[in-house]
Symmetry: D3
Subunit: 144 residues, 6 copies
């Protein structure tokens, strides 16, 4: 009996209960997603209104980094997502999940990107993976 | 007058006040511990119900890692705890504190493991140590 | 049109709206700052009351580290702040911001220190920078 | 005069000298690349010949992670490369550069992946970027 | 055909060749181990001869951390080893491997500690695991 | 007998022997310092000659970060040094040590900056501190 099979079966037997459980976060999901976006926007403004050229240029460079070039937008956002996962930055993960979704990344592709982050970064990534999947569930159930 | 003695004395003079202070978190402790466990369980199910074999195998491997072998369960959980501390992952720390406690780790042993994490990882570990001790206080006061 | 100029202009056009937005956190700011300080104090006591000499000595050494010597207090606190930023520890950042402010660090100096942390540590530092500026805003609006 | 233009010009004026300089490492390049591969192979065997199931399964899982699935091989190797860059692991970077090259990643694509790693991970990534480009130069000049 | 079985078999078929391969590093092993120890000793002296009380106290505290107490020496050294692995510090890993060996840790126990470091820290730990096993091989073949 | 006093005394008794020992690295020091500088220069050129605007801008921004402003050059280089120490990047540490020395940082100030890096980052910083002090010794004995 291989360890690899155990969680698959466990998941199968729990699927019904989970379906209901997973419906729960959707209730207050739009608020959490909205709140995250608002704090982000407000603080970016606070930071950029201060006259520090290095900080402003860094923010501009950060935006420029993900523009389509030799690599397309989707690939670049996936790179940003996995980099954020292995560095274990929840806000960065949430941000890139939203960007990836806009770029057309589907759930199977998300989980393959997650699997790279998990194997490269180790079990220490798991708590961030939980919040990543929770965030993904929330934006999928949020009204457009 | 060595620096090493100062905090010991400071702690001594504050002991009475602290006893009362430390009783406070117990009030809502079971809820926080319970909430942490529920989110953990729910999201693990969400993650494992998606058909990604690498992710599922990683979760199975993670469980297998702490099984008693050449090293006993208690030692392995302590290794997981200190690894989590120096990587500064609060959820992982909480999880391994609970596992260590089930494996019979007492408060003196916890603090010696904490001391290794603190010295190896530096003062940056202190905020996580605070939350670790807070969590330990909570599970110790929680009804079995 | 250089990327460096874009955020500056964006910030300029948003300045009026931001001024109002930035007044918001001040409302509940003293509470958050106070809450952070109280948890910190209470848990430090809990930690130091346990008879573990390595942990106690580490806490004493941590305090000793920032005493004025060949480098003055202000420089040392700035070193602590930037080290905390690149290691991405929010509590440590908040603590050193408060200490830096007491040592006379002004907003321009804070942003230059932030810029070093941002460039050395990368965009992964941005979420912590947001919370750092939010905390700085809060202690600046809090009654002495 | 923007900072963004300065390095571009500096690079331009130095191009001739650099062309010659960059030819240098190629001389002993195959040896270094070969040496790296041999140590890697030999130690993997040493590790896997020990009867530890968790370690063996982890190595197998690591291999499985980069198999084409919902995301193609090239994308997955790029994810592994950028994750390795921001975690600053030279051997992992070298390994994924070689894998990426086999998967058809060209020099422009490499530099865009590097740019994501650099901006996410910060200037601390620069020394690893230097060794990454050095390794890329070496495998490009090595006989097939 | 599970991925978990593949490396085990691969290792089995390569065992004979590896036995010879693994004998190689032993040739110059004592020198490398000796060189590491000498640089370590010389630089520790250089560091401690400078009159900086914080640095000196930190070094003393570091030594004190691994003294037997509620946890025995062997457990504490294993904690130091795994903490060093997940933080990916080769010198620290080598140091604790030597200390663990003196404390009686056998090869099976080493590999179980390695497995915790590998699963917690991820594939990024693998290059350090290679050097760890190489170092372990070297001190095992070095004359006492 | 406090642990804090032990290393101080140990250092005192070993001072004579160390003086001779510390003279050793100076022999081949200029070469190592020179080699480091040459690889750095050559690879920077290789990197900047590739037409990637994000990478070029990042390098320009990195240079701009340490220009004197609200904080003077010396303070900024010290910030860069301590950030590099806690992130454990040997090349970055060497670079900032050289820059700090040009900015007038003396040995006492270096050790106080090191002490902040050590306490914040933990014992995991020690191997990097050894190499930092070795590099400092080398540039101090190198002909101007």
């Amino acid at each position: 009996m291989s360890a690899g099979k155990r969680p698959a079966r466990a998941a199968a037997t729990k699927k019904v209960a989970t379906k209901r459980a997973s419906a729960k976060p959707a209730a207050k999901a739009p608020d959490r997603v909205k709140e995250f976006g608002e704090f982000r926007r407000r603080m970016n403004e606070r930071i950029l209104e201060h006259d520090n050229q290095v900080v402003r240029r860094f923010f501009a460079l950060d935006t420029q980094t993900y523009k389509a070039g030799a690599l397309d937008l989707k690939t670049k956002e996936l790179l940003g997502l996995v980099a954020s996962m292995v560095l274990r930055c929840d806000d960065c993960i949430s941000y890139h999940i939203a960007q990836c979704r806009d770029a057309g990344v589907n759930r199977d592709e998300f989980f393959e990107a997650f699997s790279v982050g998990l194997v490269v970064g180790g079990s220490i990534v798991i708590p961030h993976l939980r919040r990543a999947v929770d965030f993904l569930d929330q934006i999928e159930t949020a009204p457009a």
